[in-house]
């Protein structure tokens, strides 16, 4: 995506919220090779709400530790800096989202469920395919449709028209968005990711998750979010506003390297984890 295009989209959106400071502080801290566990734990503890959420998540069925993890320091030792950073990132964005209100036909509650469903499905896929970063894939899945929310907040009437057209005609949401806005939510999402300085991998998962016109995914995590998105829609976990389900991109499926017979276990696990964790995830 070109720099001037990003600027055009971001400058057309004037109410973009900011990420909590704790995330950028943590990012800076983790760049240094001499950072200690105590220092990381101290930074996270500065924001008690986020600290509590991180602990809640660590103790959820996603990790399945036999014993309760009671302190941040212990959580960092067990999960490592990168995973903790990802959890802080995900919870920070959650906080940011909550402050955004939408009107009209955009169903924020079901949108939310869809994001969580996609995050869970993408993570289960990433684990099944032995990807090295299931938590990053989780965050990517969680944020894949962030562009929709931000556009819906800024242009509630125009976005309602987009949703209504999709429901009436069955055309893909991205097509309706391009018709009305001249850009789609993937482009907005990746522009925002650059604006917020998200990790580049996350930005790419957000920008490329549709893999339209038989595009080849650049990385396995992108393929996981692409497939996860379709699985959670098929399973009816929330709704992103689409009338028709898109097909899984054959190249993405081949790339991620799972067998067809493992799909049942993946989908089963997705439904289970989604049900068990809605409370934690709706934080």
């Amino acid at each position: 995506m070109k720099a001037n295009e990003i600027e055009r989209i971001v400058s057309s959106l004037d109410k973009i919220p900011t990420l909590p400071v704790i995330y950028s502080k943590l990012g800076k801290l983790l760049q240094s090779p001499d950072t200690t566990i105590a220092a990381v734990s101290n930074i996270i503890s500065e924001d008690q709400v986020i600290a509590a959420k991180v602990l809640k998540f660590v103790n959820s069925a996603f990790y399945g530790f036999p014993q309760r993890i009671g302190s941040l320091q212990r959580a960092i030792v067990i999960l490592g800096f990168n995973t903790i950073k990802n959890l802080v990132f995900a919870t920070s964005v959650f906080d940011m989202f909550r402050g955004m209100d939408t009107d009209g036909s955009f169903d924020k509650k079901n949108f939310w469920k869809h994001c969580i469903g996609c995050a869970v499905a993408s993570r289960v896929l990433a684990e099944a395919a032995d990807l090295r970063n299931p938590d990053e894939v989780f965050t990517g899945g969680l944020l894949h449709d962030i562009g929709k929310l931000v556009v819906a907040v800024h242009y509630p009437e125009k976005y309602s028209a987009v949703i209504n057209e999709v429901q009436a005609t069955g055309i893909p949401l991205v097509a309706a968005e391009r018709k009305v806005f001249g850009y789609d939510h993937c482009q907005v999402g990746s522009a925002l990711a650059v604006h917020w300085r998200f990790p580049p991998d996350t930005a790419q998962m957000i920008g490329s998750h549709h893999l339209g016109d038989g595009a080849t995914p650049a990385r396995k995590d992108i393929a996981a979010v692409h497939i996860g998105n379709i699985l959670c829609m098929a399973l009816g976990l929330g709704s992103g506003g689409e009338k028709k389900l898109a097909s899984v991109n054959a190249k993405a499926w081949e790339f991620i390297g799972l067998s067809l017979s493992s799909l049942e276990l993946v989908m089963d696990k997705t439904v289970k984890l989604y049900k068990e964790n809605t409370e934690i995830l709706e934080m």
Binding site: A234, S259, S261
Partner: protein, 136 residues
């Protein structure tokens, strides 16, 4: 969460090497359909090819728990057929309910013909929805 052994590289129904039979006659069941007392028709291997449980073993509840914990997606058992099992299961739900589920899914799903992945997603989604109805 991959298949056992060589099947990890290829989908089962393409695999013609000894351990698995062809699609039409096979008894490969998804781990969720495997019940106590079924007998293994082939060795269960993990993704590294190590044998975890030998052929001929009558499975107990504990075995099934372990298979799930090891992330094994399916196993080959004697005398069972996935399609047959699925049909038996469907008989316990009224045809109207199944019809309604099918109608809803068909309207939402893209055309399935020639699309192996989406057909499988459709099959599993339908199965899960029927299960949901049975449970509620």
């Amino acid at each position: 969460m991959r298949l056992q052994g060589e099947a990890a590289e290829k989908p089962v129904h393409c695999n013609k090497s000894g351990a698995y039979r062809t699609f039409s006659t096979m008894g490969i069941l998804n781990i969720n359909d495997i019940k106590e007392g079924m007998t293994l028709a082939a060795d269960v291997k993990n993704k590294h090819g190590n044998i975890m449980i030998r052929q001929g073993m009558a499975l107990t509840e504990k075995h099934i728990m372990l298979l799930k914990a090891w992330g094994i997606a399916e196993a080959d058992v004697d005398g069972f057929d996935r399609d047959q099992l699925h049909e038996d299961e469907m008989k316990t739900v009224s045809p109207e309910v199944i019809e309604a589920i099918e109608k809803e899914l068909r309207e939402f799903f893209p055309p399935l013909e020639g699309n192996e992945i989406m057909s499988e997603i459709y099959r599993i989604t339908k199965k899960l929805k029927i299960k949901q109805v049975m449970e509620s």
